[in-house]
Every structure is written in C-alpha cells, then in structure tokens.
C-alpha cells in the first residue's frame, strides 16, 4: 500500500517538476498556517494519493535525568517536567501531522529520546490512542520504547506494556562499571543486567540491547569480554555502535585535549570485525551496519528508515520524511520540529504542530537517500524499491556498465544482480568510502537522462 502511495507521489512530481523543491523556513510566531503553505499553491489542487498512505511514527521525549558524556542528541535535563502539558502537545502534534500527511495506516511507532522510559506509561498510551484516532494502527504493529536501565524496573516496564509498547530497546551500552562511568551513565552493570532480565520476561523475543565499543582505552580483550557478557544476557536483537566523538560532548573535549586517548583506526576496525564474527557464531545475522538479529527479530521501524519509507516525526527536534498532502504538497519533504521543548510546546499550542524547517526533496535527492540508506542493509537497494523512486533510470542504467560501481564490484565490495544493489560483507564496513563515488555516478547518469528528456520538465 505504501508502494502505491509513493507511485502517486512520483507521478505528481513529474507534473510539478522542481518548482516546489526549494526549502522553506517557517516563520516563527503566529504565521504558521501561511508558512506551511509556502511550498505549494493550494489553489492548484493536484492529484490525491492513489492508494492508502502509510507512514512510520517517531515520537521524541526530550528529557533526561543526566547528561551522558558522549550524547549530542536533542535532550534536556530539567528539574521538573510538566508532563501533562508535554503529553497534550505530543498528542496534538501527532494528530496534526498524521492528518497533514493523509496517513491512513501507521506501520510502526518508536518512542525515542532523550529518555522516554522516564515518561509515564499513560503518556505513551495517550500518544498511541491519538494515532489510532486519526489513522489505522494495526494490532500487530511494532511499538518500540527506548529504555534506560535506571528507569526500567519491572513495574514500570509492565506499565509500558499495558500502554501498548511491544518492543523494548534497552540502552545498556556496557556491562563494565568503569566503562559506564566513562560514558557518564547513571546505572551500573548490575542494574543493566537486572533491567535486561526484567525486560526479557515482559517482552520475550522483543528486546534489543544497545552496546557501545571503541571507548578511549578499550582493549580488544575488554570488548570481547563485554560482548560475551552481553550475549549471555541478550534476547534476539543487538545494536553495536562504534563510539562517535560528537563535537560539544564532554568525551570529545577530553579526547581533543589529550586527557583521554583517541582510539586508533586499526583497533576500531578490529573491534568491529571481531564482533561481527562473534555474533555470527552466536547465530546473529547482521542486517544493517550496526544491527544484528536472530530468529527474524529485526526492527521493522528502523528498517523503514533504511528502506526510505515515509515517517512522521513528533516531538521537539524530531525529523520526518513525508508528503504533506493535506496542504497541497506533492513532494516528499524533510521536516524538522522545533528543538527546544518550551518553544515547541508554544508552537504546538498555537498552530497544532511545531515544524521548524521543511525542505522538499527533489527526485534526485530522494534517490540519493534511497541509495545511501539502502546500502547500509543486508538486502541493499532492491530493484523493486529503486523502481518506485526511479521509474525512468533503472538500477542497471545507473550503476551497470563501466563506471565507479563496476570498479567497486570488481574489488569485491559491491554486488549488483537481478535482485538488488548491495554491499558485500567486505564492503559494508567501508560504505562511507564507497558512497561518494556512487553518488557521483548517480548524479551523472541522472543528469544524462534529464538531458535526453530535453530538460523541459521542470519549467512546465
């Protein structure tokens, strides 16, 4: 169904061309309605989506009890949260945006943050109910909550389950107390174990553990031990993240000043590759750069990002990717909500939503996202999916014959066959070095096709 919706959107693009493809910044204050219409003309009603529109829903809870030393996400540590107010705004924005996108069916929901496990279960329930009021929320749809071991006691987790959560992503990060202190986490390894065990009881087969590797000073042996411990504790899903030293974080500053050592690149590669081997031996399948699952326990919500499906982002600083049919939009937009919770709430109260930035994605830009995201997965960019976004330039036409992609195939990092374009296991760890060349080739071939068409489409 999502497929038909996209086809319709692309058909509309062909007619409207790039006219609306320019980004628009929404003016602050009361001008929200006018601002939202700026990207398209409502006086020219275009075709409506041909089939039922689907989207994933991301809900951002912006509060934490403590800053972690590595985290650069949009989060706030405040003495007291007016939860009723936040809840009301999350509910209102969920409904506004789902309506704006003409979303008929919500494929999955993900509560991220911040620390959403600090929210009351009935806040989670209220958002889910609100979504179900304006769109279909199938009973079996994946509803994930990110939980911090320090706010994941059994009673609380049971409350979330009762609210409708059916999958838990537990931010364990490490099972070593010294490492947890370095990361600025407020829980201990023992608390992490207890939380993981409680979660598995309540959400059997539906718990994911997050682990971080590549900490300053971390040895190969320490990581191997940590991974073994996690394997003894985990369910059927693991996410292993190499520590990214983000600017503006305490950890990055310590490394930059030389207080902590910067992990050498070769060591980081060793940690990653050895973990892949360990997990494969334990029956885990790597279905994305950092995500591993067994028994088919993949996250449908996260897969929808990598498959470049539509998603609606609700809450302070949340990102979305959808066509705003409700206001005459015909192109998928990249949308960002106002980051600061207080400002966001003011905007939601006055306009129904707090969208701060919106930029229409051109067909090529959308295709670039399809490529860059899809190659992160084991399935790669499938012929079928590519065809939805690029009816006129096939995967073969873009990446076949001689060119960058062919060279990368010959080196054994990439594979293009009748099913998909994807990275080989050897190529996946090098993806960011492969993508610039592939994006160059895509742009070149895309422009060639545009020129064949006489370049008149955009001006019509």
């Amino acid at each position: 169904m999502a497929v038909r919706g996209l086809r319709a959107a692309l058909g509309a693009m062909a007619v409207r061309g790039l006219r609306a493809a320019l980004g628009a910044v929404r003016p602050r204050g009361t001008g929200c309605a006018a601002g939202l219409r700026s990207a398209s003309k409502p006086s020219e009603p275009g075709p409506e989506p041909a089939g039922p529109v689907t989207a994933a829903l991301y809900v951002h809870w912006p509060y934490c009890r403590k800053h972690c030393s590595y985290c650069s996400f949009n989060k706030y540590v405040v003495p007291a949260v007016d939860e009723a107010a936040v809840r009301a705004c999350l509910v209102r924005e969920t409904q506004t945006l789902l309506r704006l996108g003409h979303v008929q069916s919500v494929t999955s929901v993900f509560f991220g943050g911040g620390t959403p496990s600090l929210a009351a279960p009935h806040t989670i329930a209220a958002v889910l109910e609100a979504a179900a009021e304006v769109a279909h929320l199938p009973a079996g749809a994946e509803v994930t909550l990110e939980a911090n071991p320090s706010s994941a006691d059994p009673a609380r987790l049971a409350g979330f389950r009762a609210a409708g959560v059916n999958r838990l992503s537990l931010g364990v990060q490490s099972l070593d107390d010294a490492e947890l202190r370095l990361l600025g986490r407020e829980h201990t390894a023992a608390e992490a174990r207890a939380a993981a065990e409680a979660a598995r009881k309540l959400f059997p087969g539906r718990v994911s553990l997050d682990l971080i590797f590549g900490l300053p000073g971390q040895s190969r042996e320490a990581w191997a031990r940590g991974l073994e411990a996690a394997l003894g504790l985990c369910d059927d899903h693991l996410a292993l993240y190499q520590l990214t030293l983000e600017r503006g974080t305490a950890l990055e500053a310590q490394v930059r000043r030389g207080v902590l050592p910067e992990p050498p690149e070769d060591l980081l590669a060793d940690l990653y590759l050895s973990a892949r081997a360990t997990l494969a031996a334990a029956g885990f399948h790597q279905y994305e750069v950092s995500n591993f699952a067994r028994k088919g326990a993949r996250s449908t919500h996260n897969l929808s990002y990598w498959r470049a499906e539509q998603y609606v982002g609700v809450g302070p600083g949340a990102h979305g990717r959808f066509v705003p049919w409700g206001e005459g939009g015909r192109l998928r937009e990249a949308r960002v909500q106002t980051p600061h919770p207080d400002t966001w709430m003011r905007e939601v109260r006055s306009c129904g939503h707090g969208t701060r930035r919106r930029a229409a994605l051109s067909p090529l830009e959308l295709l670039q996202e399809v490529l860059a995201l899809g190659l992160r997965t084991d399935e790669g960019v499938t012929q079928q999916r590519w065809g939805l976004f690029s009816p006129r330039l096939s995967l073969e036409a873009a990446f076949g014959a001689s060119g960058e992609a062919r060279e990368l195939q010959e080196r054994g990092w990439l594979r293009l066959n009748g099913r998909a374009l994807r990275c080989t296991p050897a190529g996946l760890p090098l993806l960011d070095s492969l993508l610039p060349a592939l994006l160059c080739q895509l742009r070149r071939r895309w422009n060639a096709v545009e020129e064949e068409d006489g370049g008149g489409r955009g001006s019509r």
């Binding site: 990002y305 949340a318 080196r411 060349a437």
Partner: protein, 618 residues
Amino acid sequence: MALTGRTVSWWVRLLWPCPVAAPRGPPVWLPTGLEACQRFYSSRDKEKIDMSAYPAESIRNFSIIAHVDHGKSTLADRLLEITGTIAKTDRNKQVLDKLQVERERGITVKAQSASLFYNFKGVNYLLNLIDTPGHVDFSYEVSRSLSACQGVLLVVDANEGIQAQTVANFYLAFEAQLAIIPVVNKIDLKNADPERVEKQIEKLFDIPVNECIRISAKQGTNIEKVLEKVIEKIPPPQFNTTDPLKALVFDSTFDHYRGVIANIAIFGGEIQKGHKIVSAHTNKRYEVNEVGILTPNEQPTHKLERRRGMYPVDQTEYNNLKSALERLTLNDSSVTIHRDSSLALGAGWRLGFLGLLHMEVFNQRLEQEYNTSVILTAPTVPYKAVLSSAKLIKEYGNSEITIINPAQFPDKHSVSEYLEPTVLGTIVTPQEYIRKIIVLCQDRRAVQKEMLYIDEHRVMLKYLFPLNEIVVDFYDALKSLSSGYASFDYEDAGYQPADLIKMDILINGNPIEELATIIHNDKAYATGKFLCERLKDTIPRQLFEIAIQAAIGKKIIARETLKAYRKNVVAKCYGGDITRRMKLLKRQAEGKRLMRKIGNVEVPRDAFIRVLKRQPEK
C-alpha cells in the same frame, strides 16, 4: 653597481607615465640652468627652496650602513630632527621606514631617501641621506643606494661590536671607493665598550681608533659631530648642469593614483617638468610630469594629474596577482620573475629572491600593499649543467644551461658536470660557539676559507656555502645554537661543480612531476624521507594501500606506506540525522571531482600545496 664615482646626485622625483605618444625621434636634451628648472618646497613651511643656493660644492650625498639593529634608523631620525627636516617629537621612530612591513618588523627593507638642510660655519649645505636596509638579504638595496653616494656612516653597536654585516657593508663601501666615517653607537648602554669596538674597527678595517665618533642616537649625543664629519670628510659630488642629462634610477614605486614614480640621482645635466627623456636601458621615451625632492616624503611642486586605470584591475585573481607583482617588482628590482605553471598549483610565477627574509617581506608586502595572497613553495636555487652531448648543445644553443625546473634536469650521460650556486658566508661569533658552528657548517656542506680572531673573544669565520644549504633555515639554526649572538652575511661566490641528482617522488609507482627535486647526492636520503613522511600526512586514507616513495632513477631510497581503510562507516544512521549525513556525502562526492588522480590514487589538490609549502616556523 659600479657606477659611483664622484658625481652630483640630488633627488628629483620623476613621474613616469606610459611611453609618450609623441612621434619618435632623437631625444631632445634641454640644457637649461639649474636655477630655471624647479621650485621646491621644504616640508616644514612650504616655502620655496631656491636650489641655486646649493651649488655642487655644498651638497653631500651619503648613506648610513650598519648591521641590523645597530641603530641606523634611529640615527637617521636624529639627523632629520636636528636639521629641522622633521619636527622633534618622541614619536619619531623609523621615520624613513615607510612600509608597513618595515614598521612591523622593525627593519628597513627599502632604501629611503631624505634631503637635509644644515648650516655649518656660515655655509648652507644640502645633505642627501639614503637610509639602507640592514639585513643580509637586502645588500642589493645597499649597493644600489651606495652607487648614488660619495660617503657612508658605518654604524657599529658599542655593545655588540663588529658583526657579519658590518664587515660586508664595509667592503661594499670600500670597493665603491666611498669615504667611510665609523660611528660607534649606543654608548649610553650599560655594557657599552666603545674602546673594544674601536680596536676591532682598527684591526679589521684599518681605520685609526681616533677617527671613530662615539654617539648615542637614542639620546641624541654627539649627533652634530656626525653632521660636521659628513661635511668635512665626504667630498661633494662632481656635477655640471650644462652637460646632457645623465641619471640613475635608484628606486621606483607605483602610486595607485599617480602611476610610476622613479627616484633618480642626477650625474649630469638637469631635469624639469615637460622634459622628454629616454631610458638608456630600454630605449623607451618618457615625459617628465613632475619633479620633486624627498624630505623625506615627496614634496610635489605641482598638483598631480590623476592616473587612474593605468593598470586596470582585472577580475581574475591571476591577473590581480600579476599586476601586483609587476608593481611590486618595480619597487624591488632584485626580484626576478619567470612565468611558470605547475599541475598542482596552477599558473604562477617562479620568483627569484635574495634570501628568505627577502621572500617573506615580499610576500607580506603583496598582502599588505596589494591585498593579494600567494602560496609560497619551498625555495629552490638555480642550478647549471655543462652539457657534453653535442646534440643537446645544439638544441640549447649553449654548452652551459641553467636549470630552474627539475623537469628540465638533463640526464648525467649528456652532462660533463653539474654546477650549483655558492656564496661566501661571513660569520662573526663569540668564541664559545665556534665548535657548534663548525659542525653546523660542515653539515651544510660548507668549506672553511678563513678564521680570524677580531679581538680576544670574537671570531670571524668565512665559509664557502652551497646556496641551497643556507636558503631555508641556516640563519635560524645559527641564531638558535649561538643564543642569538652569532651574526651572518653572505655574498655571491659563483657556481661550483656539485654531485647533483634529480629525485622523483612516486605514488604507487607513478611519479609526481611537481614534487621532483634537484638535490645533492648526500642529502637525497634525508630529504626523500622527509617528503614521503609529509605526503603521508596529507593524503587521506583510501580503500587500498598507497606506497609513497622517493626514487633516484630506478632506485627507491625512501618509502612510506599509507594503509588502506579497514572501516569507514558511520555507526548510527536513523531517521534523525539523514539531512546532515547526505550533505556531507554529497560534499565528499563533489570533492572527488577536485581530486587529482595519480594512477588510481585520489590526491587532494592541497596535498601538494601543503608539501611544497614552507614549514611554518616552529
């Protein structure tokens, strides 16, 4: 610069427009008398100065020469004050140093000139003073200035005594047969030892101790004595105004509004506005638009015409730089220019400088006076080859060729010998640093020519250096190992045979033309290693291993290996950060187009710039 002799020279300013459109013909000399030609204004009261009041016998042309920091510019300031040329204030510091770079660095780069008026024993004298640069790099300016003088003040610091450049400057003046007045400055300093310095002067320069004048330029002590000696000991110029005009252009500048201004010294005849003159060098005709003297800033006699657009400013950086270079070299004729182009750096110029400070100062002037900036590559020196192959001799039309670009380096089979430029260096140092300095000089392939104790503690060393060994950091090394006490100067010593080779830099086996270097065989290994290491730091890691090698012919003498990426993929990529991520990827994709492919290795354009660029000062 051997055209000194005893000639009249007073300063006129000559506006030098483009070649006049007048019909070509034999130059017309207008032998009018001095009194008829110009009206001058003094700087103070704008009164007309009657030049006829200054016959040749009451004119003195002189320069001040000294080692850097021995007080030359301060003495010039005092002389200007005492003669009333400038008002006496505390702010008179380096009045003659007009360039921003001179004031910032506290050095004199350009020779500047001023005319002083002084009454001595009832006679009015016109004293023309040229200030000269002190640093070794600018001895070209010194000799150009000296060619317009009949005498010099040789200033020596009473504390530091004779330094390398004192020696060099003395010989410049001595060989030009100028009257030399030794001046011992800074006698007010606590550690001043004028007696010791006077003995050094006697020992080295054979000037009797009693001829030295002890002064403190800073405090103004004994300055009149200096002026008196200038009048007594320096002969007046020989000059005949009825002769045809004969003048030396000793400096020239470009004024944004007025065009080219030449500072000239007149050796005979006279000049006035409207005269048509001919350059004996280029045979081009010019019209004199304005004439003036320097006191010390130019004092115009007539309102000037605007000459906007004489050098139209073009849009492209290349042309901007070209015109800035042209203007600046007008003012610094010691810089030689060759058009050049490099695959790495694009179109540019290979500039010849007299030394490193000269190069830095030139670059700073480009930035400050013309608002342009350039990439400076590591300096190289011009080598020569004596050809043995008859075919090549015929091709070049000469058996000896100069090699500026390593790409033109002829193979040793067709060469009987290679030659490198050398200099004779003078080092003056306290004796405790001798051992270290000798080691340094040997390391720089230098050959000792002389060693002389100029007093109980100080030694003068003379070494024959290959120029390329001192062109980058020799001076800094010398200063640092002698705690700043040793001084250095050098003069051209011609070309000497040398065991030169061409060293190539290879990336995965492919030579990089712009990194090829001509180098002495003994230095190849160290330099090759250094270049490879530096390249390794500037080329980003790629998907395959990269070998960076230095080679002489087919022999590899140094190697660095840049390992392949084993992991390069962002860990977290969900819905939230895609826009930022895509921007970065697209920028990298765009950046690929700017990469230079060497074999299959992508090298950023600025990698070469960073390797070729001089190392920043440590």
